[in-house]
Symmetry: C2
């Protein structure tokens, strides 16, 4: 009897393993919200390592990228990069520690979405922060920010 019991238990384990393998293989690919969330998390991680280029990876590398902040509108990935360099890497400036909160991701179609959220940069002298609205588009290389509106 004991032998038979063990045999049944072993059979159940085998089926369990098969089910798990099947579920893993059939798992849907990462959805838009998870993919966008990962872009934002990667941006914060890069920033907090002082890697501005890595942070800028989240943006569409195009002259048509736009960045609105206060009364200024910046056109293009290069100009946006320069803006960040000036504000956070020029003399006497610090990148500090960046975090995002109250992130709300809304898909608009299979290849577009927008994100509302708050940002905070804490450096040795002060805490900066405000709200942002990001427009995302899906490219062959992944989801990228095509427009950023930030307010302090």
């Amino acid at each position: 009897m004991r032998k038979s019991h063990c045999y049944i238990a072993g059979w159940k384990v085998a089926v369990g393993i098969c089910v798990l393998v099947f579920l893993a293989a059939a798992a849907p690919p990462e959805g838009p919200k998870a993919a966008i969330r990962r872009v934002l998390d990667d941006q914060a991680k890069a920033w907090n390592k002082g890697d501005l280029e890595g942070f800028m990876d989240g943006y569409w590398k195009s002259p048509d990228l736009t960045f609105s902040s206060g009364k200024d509108r910046t056109h293009g990935w290069d100009a946006t990069m320069q803006r960040y360099r000036k504000r956070y890497q020029s003399e006497g400036r610090e990148m500090g520690k960046l975090s995002f909160s109250e992130i709300e991701i809304e898909t608009l179609g299979p290849e577009s979405a927008f994100v509302r959220g708050r940002w905070k940069v804490v450096n040795s002298k002060e805490t900066l922060g405000g709200q942002f609205t990001l427009v995302f588009k899906k490219f062959p290389e992944g989801w990228r920010i095509i427009h950023d509106h930030t307010s302090n």
Copy 2:
């Protein structure tokens, strides 16, 4: 000869009229950019008549409408309406004259788009203004703003 000439001219006019009628009938319906531009123009017209309800027609009449300004985030059409009332219709406040400029409309799909632009309100005491980013979605009733990020 004169009669025959007149006959040919009359025939040409008839064909011309037919072509015009055909073109008018085959004209494509108003595209997304023109429809969105019209929503913005209607908003400004309503505002400048002191018609805040008419202005608010441009917004999605939903508790999920969001309005970000500076550090504040307002949820819902009703709360957004209240915010405008307080700022522009309460005691000592004026609606003034609203205008939009530097409007850039980008479609994101057949039923979504975003708009960058600048707003200006001139009243008897001061000139207010700033930038905005609007996210638009197409509903059975037409294109409506589902998210507004305004900075002063």
